[in-house]
Symmetry: C2
Subunit: 189 residues, 2 copies
């Protein structure tokens, strides 16, 4: 059995397990849920929901509203739930690496050391901020969603972020030190 539609459609199915939602709702929910490791734009969400409805994986209901445009609320069907489960079981497809910071650092010898230092510093600050965000989310989740059977999985993804960001902050510090050493050596002659 082949599963077309790729990860985007399945991400939407996953989010719709939480509650029936419109495309607008979904977009708004992402930063509070899978936002740390996944993103979707309206340009993907609306057409994808349409396709999911056409293939019977979600059901569409229109709610009329006064003043505001109609809301198109989508809810998961049994077929949709089954499709999601099938997709979850498939092995994770390896992602092609593309890390612009490392590319620039790799060629860092062609510009001044200050350039690399700035890139690394910005990167470090990003991850320091991320660490704070993760801590805040974990705290909130443990309070608000205590007992939810999904909570352990959510905490695992948060833990991933913490491990990674902590390691990358450490790397950043070491790298900044190494850049300073290079500078000293360059001046010494």
């Amino acid at each position: 059995m082949k599963i077309e539609g790729g990860a985007t459609q399945n991400a939407l199915l996953g989010l719709l397990t939480m509650k029936p939602m419109s495309g607008y709702d979904i977009k708004a929910l992402i930063p509070q849920s899978i936002g740390n490791f996944w993103s979707e734009s309206y340009g993907q969400i609306y057409p994808s929901l349409k396709r999911l409805a056409e293939t019977g994986l979600v059901e569409k209901k229109t709610q009329r509203q006064k003043g505001k445009p109609d809301r198109h609320v989508y809810s998961l069907t049994e077929d949709g739930r089954a499709r999601l489960r099938d997709w979850l079981k498939l092995p994770v497809v390896a992602e092609v690496p593309r890390h612009e910071l490392l590319l620039k650092l790799f060629f860092g010898a062609h510009v001044s050391l200050g350039v690399s230092r700035e890139h690394v510093t910005a990167f470090m600050e990003e991850h320091e901020k991320a660490l704070k965000v993760y801590a805040a989310i974990a705290k909130r989740l443990r309070k608000e969603d205590a007992g939810d059977p999904q909570l352990p999985f959510w905490l695992m993804t948060l833990s991933f972020g913490r491990h990674r960001s902590a390691a990358l902050v450490k790397w950043s510090r070491e790298t900044l030190k190494a850049l300073d050493e290079l500078e000293k050596n360059a001046k010494r002659r």
Copy 2:
């Protein structure tokens, strides 16, 4: 000043600082250089080289060969070098996160624990293997390229990989333990 062409063209310019190369050469060199954090396909490389030549950032020379097709060897021009430096100075553009493993783990409650365990295990093994590869490359680099002014930068990118992979292996182990705990708790009732 705007720089079009994006990261791909600049990655090619960067690689061409090492030596003049054909598209084929470049593709072959990637796994031994920037392969851990960057990838390019022929479908990108050949058209990009063409465009770089049209805009005067690289120079094309054709070497005829017997039996084999002509080699089109590209070398960096002064303009190309300047362009690369300009690009290196630009802030790193933040990449949109897309991490399929975490997406699947986030929705892990919808399938059996074994599914998540398998995904995490595969991920862990990937990074354990990566750690060995990084160590081997670092050793080789320190021997073969001792004294090269670019060496420190190359080691920094390798160090990045080591820090990250080590952290992710640690996370994997903890997560597998957490999954085991969940299993025990589920059985206890």
